[in-house]
C-alpha cells in the first residue's frame, strides 16, 4: 500500500465514522445495509473476480447465515456464538455444493448455485415449523457485548462498521497471503498456475467456500439489523443483485464491491422520481456499462485516467531511423 492509498483509506474510515451522526433512522438503516451488502459482495468478489467462478447463490448463503443466527439467538444463545456457527455452516455448504460442480466445466457452478438458491427458498418457505414459512421470523435481539448494547440504531451502525472493517481486513489479508496470490495466478493464467504446482480445483473450491462464508457473516448481521427475516429476502433475484454489485463496481478490484453496493443501494433513491421505470433504466445502464467497460465502474475510471494522463512520447526521429 502506498502512502497516498493509506491516507485515502484513513479518510474513508473517518467519513464512515462521522457519516451517521445527526442523521435520521432511515439514513442510518440505509448505511447499515450498505455495510452488510458490501461484506457479502466482497465475498462474492473473491469467487467471481479472483477465482473466476459465477455463483448465483450469494443471497442463499446470506439466508443460511440469517436463519441460523435468528434461530439460535431466539433460543437465547449469544450472537457471537451464533455468528461463528453461521459462518461455519455457510462455509460447509459452500464446500459441499462446490465440490461436484467444480469437477466439470466452469459454468456448471452457475447452474448448480442457481438451482440451490431456488431450492433453499422453497425449503425456507415450506418448512413452517422451523422457519416460520412465508411469515418469517420476528424479534431477533440485537447483540450486547460486556454490558454495551447495540439496541439503538446508531450503536448498531458502529457495530456493523466494526464488522465491515474486520471483514475488509480479513479479505485484504487473504488476498495478500500466498493463498490469495494463488487465486490471482489462477485467474490470470490457469494453465501456467497449474504447471507451477497449484491445485486448481482445490483453490477454486476454497475461494468459493470462503466467499460463501462472507455471505453467511453478512446474513448473521442482517438478522439483528432488520429484526425480521422471510424467505423472499433471500430469493434468486437478490443473488442477481449481489452479482450486479460486484460487476458494476468492478470485479477483481478490492474496492469494487463496496462501490457497486453503494451504487445498487443508492440508485433506487436517486431514480425514485422515475417511479416504475427505475428497473428499466437500471438494467439498461448495466447493459451499456457491460458493453463499453466489462471491468465495471473502477475499470471505466482507469480507462478515463489512462486517456487523460500525459503519455511518454517516443522520439519521432528514432522511429524514422528504424524505418530506414
Amino acid at each position: 500500500m502506498t502512502k497516498l492509498q493509506a491516507i485515502l483509506v484513513a479518510l474513508g474510515v473517518a467519513i464512515l465514522l462521522v457519516a451517521p451522526v445527526g442523521q435520521g433512522n432511515y439514513i442510518i438503516y440505509t448505511l447499515c445495509s450498505w455495510l452488510l451488502f458490501s461484506i457479502s459482495a466482497m465475498g462474492l468478489n473473491l469467487t467471481l473476480g479472483y477465482a473466476g467462478q459465477v455463483s448465483l447463490a450469494q443471497a442463499a448463503f446470506m439466508g443460511i447465515g440469517a436463519y441460523v443466527t435468528a434461530l439460535l439467538t431466539l433460543s437465547g444463545i449469544h450472537w457471537g456464538f451464533a455468528t461463528v456457527i453461521s459462518i461455519t455452516s455457510s462455509f460447509a455448504v459452500g464446500l459441499v455444493l462446490g465440490y461436484p460442480a467444480l469437477r466439470v466445466q466452469h459454468h456448471f457452478l452457475a447452474f448448480v448455485t442457481l438451482a440451490f438458491n431456488t431450492l433453499l427458498f422453497l425449503v425456507l418457505r415450506n418448512e413452517e415449523e422451523i422457519t416460520g414459512g412465508s411469515f418469517g421470523l420476528v424479534g431477533m435481539p440485537r447483540p450486547s457485548f460486556f454490558g454495551i448494547t447495540t439496541d439503538s440504531n446508531l450503536s448498531f451502525y458502529y457495530f456493523s462498521l466494526i464488522c465491515f472493517l474486520f471483514s475488509a481486513g480479513v479479505m485484504w489479508w487473504i488476498l495478500r497471503s500466498p493463498w490469495g496470490r494463488a487465486f490471482k495466478a489462477l485467474r490470470e493464467n490457469p494453465i501456467r498456475a497449474e504447471s507451477l504446482g497449484l491445485k486448481i480445483r482445490r483453490q477454486t473450491l476454497l475461494a468459493f467456500a470462503i466467499g460463501s462464508a462472507f455471505g453467511g457473516f453478512a446474513g448473521s448481521l442482517q438478522a439483528p439489523l432488520v429484526q425480521f427475516i422471510e424467505p423472499g429476502s433471500f430469493a434468486l433475484i437478490h443473488s442477481l443483485k449481489l452479482l450486479l454489485m460486484v460487476v458494476v463496481g468492478g470485479s477483481g478490484f478490492f474496492f469494487g464491491p463496496m462501490l457497486g453496493a453503494a451504487v445498487v443501494i443508492l440508485l433506487p433513491e436517486v431514480l425514485r422520481f422515475t417511479e416504475g421505470y427505475y428497473l428499466i433504466i437500471y438494467s439498461f445502464l448495466v447493459i451499456v456499462l457491460m458493453v463499453y467497460s466489462p471491468n465495471g465502474l473502477i475499470g471505466l475510471g482507469h480507462k478515463i485516467i489512462d486517456k487523460l494522463r500525459p503519455r511518454h512520447e517516443a522520439r519521432r526521429d528514432m522511429q524514422q531511423g528504424a524505418q530506414l
Binding site: 460442480a101 448448480v112 442457481l114 431456488t118 452479482l243 466489462p294
Partner: protein, 292 residues
C-alpha cells in the same frame, strides 16, 4: 391408469414447449458461447408482440402472429446479436452473462410498465375440445402443441443435417477458424443461429401463452426450465435438449400428482443436481474437454 395417461400426455405437451426454448438455448451456446440468461424472457416477449398486434393494431390472429414473428426476429435475433453479443464476445463469458441477466430484467420490466402487470388472456391456436382415450381425457390443444413442437424441432434437425447452409452452421459451431478458411461466412452462420433461436422462442410463446396466460413474469420459470432441460439432456446436442425438455415436462406433472404440490418445483432442480453429480455431460451429451 387413465390418470397416468392423462398426466403423461399433458407432461409431454408442456415438455415439448420447454424443449423449443432449450434447443434455442443450446444453439446459441454452440454458435457463440453465449449463455443466454434471458431465454425465458425471450419466450415471454413474442406473446406480447402478438397481443399488441391484435389489440392496438386490430389485426386478426394469424397476421398478428406473423407480426410477432417478424418483430422477434428483428429484436431478439438481429438487435440482440448486433448490439449486445457482438461487441462483448472478445471480453469472455462473464460480462455477457451479466448483460443477458440485465437484458432479461429489462424485457420483463418494460413489458410490466408498458403493457400491464396483470396476466392477459391469449387466443388459443387449437380448439379446446377434449376427447376420451381409454378413459383418459386428452385435449386437442395438448396433442396440437406436441405435434407442432416436434415438427419444428424435426424440421430444424433436417435443416441442420441435410442442407448446405445447415452443414455450414454446424461447421462454424464446431471449429470457426477452419470453417472460415474453407470459405464459410461464419458471422452470417452465427446470425442464422440467433434468428432460429428467435423463431423457436416465438413458436414456444404462441403455444404456451394460451395455457399459462401472457404475463410479464412468465420468463422466470420458463428460463429456469429451459436451462435445466438443456443441461439434463446434454448441453451440446439438439436431441439432448429435446429429451431433457420432455423429461422435465413429465416429471413436473408427475410430481404434482404423487409428491407434495409445495415441492413440485423442486423436482426438476433435484434432477439437475443429480445429473451434474452423476453424468455431467448430460443424458445424451458427449463429454467436452475441461476448459479451465
Amino acid at each position: 391408469m387413465a390418470e397416468l395417461i392423462q398426466i403423461l400426455v399433458s407432461g409431454l405437451a408442456a415438455g415439448s414447449i420447454y424443449a423449443l426454448a432449450a434447443v434455442g438455448f443450446t444453439l446459441l451456446w454452440q454458435a457463440s458461447q453465449t449463455i443466454n440468461f434471458a431465454q425465458g424472457e425471450f419466450v415471454m416477449l413474442p406473446a406480447f408482440f402478438v397481443l399488441v398486434g391484435m389489440t392496438v393494431l386490430g389485426l386478426p390472429m394469424w397476421p398478428a402472429i406473423g407480426l410477432g414473428l417478424v418483430l422477434s426476429l428483428l429484436i431478439l435475433g438481429v438487435a440482440f446479436k448486433r448490439l449486445i453479443v457482438e461487441p462483448m464476445l472478445p471480453h469472455g463469458t462473464l460480462p455477457l452473462v451479466i448483460a443477458t441477466i440485465a437484458l432479461g430484467l429489462l424485457l420483463k420490466e418494460s413489458v410490466k410498465e408498458l403493457y400491464g402487470a396483470t396476466a392477459q388472456p391469449f387466443p388459443a391456436v387449437f380448439p379446446q375440445t377434449v376427447f376420451n382415450v381409454a378413459g383418459a381425457s386428452v385435449s386437442i390443444q395438448d396433442i396440437g402443441n406436441l405435434v407442432v413442437s416436434m415438427l419444428a424441432i424435426g424440421g430444424l434437425q433436417l435443416f441442420l443435417n441435410r442442407t448446405r447452409t445447415g452443414r455450414c452452421m454446424q461447421a462454424s459451431a464446431q471449429n470457426p477458424a477452419v470453417a472460415e478458411i474453407l470459405g464459410v461466412n461464419v458471422k452470417r452462420m452465427v446470425m442464422y443461429t440467433f434468428l432460429i433461436n428467435a423463431a423457436l422462442a416465438t413458436i414456444a410463446s404462441v403455444l404456451i401463452s394460451p395455457i399459462y396466460l401472457a404475463k410479464f413474469s412468465n420468463g422466470e420459470t420458463l428460463g429456469l426450465v429451459a436451462f435445466i432441460a438443456a443441461i439434463v439432456g446434454g448441453f451440446n446436442q439438439i436431441r439432448g435438449a429435446l429429451v431433457g425438455g420432455l423429461l422435465i415436462g413429465v416429471i413436473d406433472n408427475l410430481s404434482a400428482l404423487y409428491i407434495s404440490a409445495e415441492y413440485r418445483s423442486a423436482m426438476p432442480l433435484i434432477l439437475l443436481i443429480a445429473i451434474i453429480l452423476l453424468r455431467p455431460q448430460g443424458l445424451l451429451g458427449t463429454p467436452e474437454g475441461r476448459t479451465v
